[in-house]
């Protein structure tokens, strides 16, 4: 699975993108975030308060229950501040 990070999530985690192999049992957005947080360090810091993390799956907004698999593109980012 491809994971993208934007804005301060990108800075805290220290990379803008990575390819990961999902562990068995991780099948939705909430699972991915829990798993990343478990890596500790910048991941734990960036994903500590999941209320302010927004998620897109395949470039469309997604919720905690949205299913994800190895072929998906998942993006994590803070609330947007465009315009």
């Amino acid at each position: 699975m491809k994971i993208l990070y934007f804005a301060w999530l990108r800075q805290k985690i220290g990379t803008d993108a990575e390819d990961v192999a999902l562990p068995a049992g991780v099948g939705d957005v909430a699972g991915v975030i829990d798993w990343l947080r478990g890596r500790g360090g910048g991941y734990a810091e960036a994903l500590g308060d999941d209320a302010i993390v927004r998620v897109a799956v395949n470039q469309a907004y997604a919720g905690p229950d949205t299913p994800v698999g190895d072929d998906d593109e998942v993006a994590l980012f803070p609330p947007v501040t465009g315009g």
Binding site: L4, F6, A7, Q59, F77, V80, T81, G83
Partner: protein, 154 residues
């Protein structure tokens, strides 16, 4: 029509191109967002606009189509810049053209409210204390949610 670009745009030229040769257009509403000097004159306050290439274009195209479903528009344009921008520079342009002014005005407000709350852009401000990510404002969410009632795309 949508564009995501680093380059500046010319408002007058964009409006002319959008409405030229269509004499069914009676009203053109537009909105331009500019970089405000957040330092309040206490120094430079440029900013850098990060975005999510691919998703940005996809979402802008979707909301543009949504506006055409909701209002009888003859034409519309969204241009959103990314990259580093100085105070006074143009960030975003929304133009909507319709036979009737109400459709143009309402759809323009709808699109800019939406862009502010849903389009995947993030502002990194340069302040005297260093770079700082702009936090989302609750008032922006409120402005966008008034359109939500009939918003099939959520």
């Amino acid at each position: 029509m949508i564009r995501v670009q680093a380059d500046d745009f010319d408002i007058g030229a964009e409006i002319r191109a959008l409405t030229a040769a269509n004499t069914g257009v009676g009203g053109v509403a537009s909105f331009v967002g500019l970089v405000r000097d957040m330092a309040g004159g206490a120094g430079e306050s440029a900013m850098t606009l990060e975005h999510y290439p691919g998703m940005t274009e996809r979402m802008l195209a979707e909301i543009d189509e949504e506006a055409h479903r909701r209002w009888p528009l003859e034409a519309s344009l969204i241009v959103h810049r990314h990259g580093r921008l100085e105070p006074g520079e143009r960030i975003v342009l929304v133009v909507t053209a319709s036979a009737h002014r109400r459709a143009a005005l309402e759809s323009c407000a709808f699109l800019i409210d939406w862009l502010k709350t849903r389009a995947p852009f993030w502002k990194l401000e340069e302040t005297p204390e260093g770079a700082r990510w702009v936090e989302a404002r609750a008032s922006d969410d409120a402005a966008a949610s008034k359109w939500r009632r009939e918003d099939a795309t959520g």
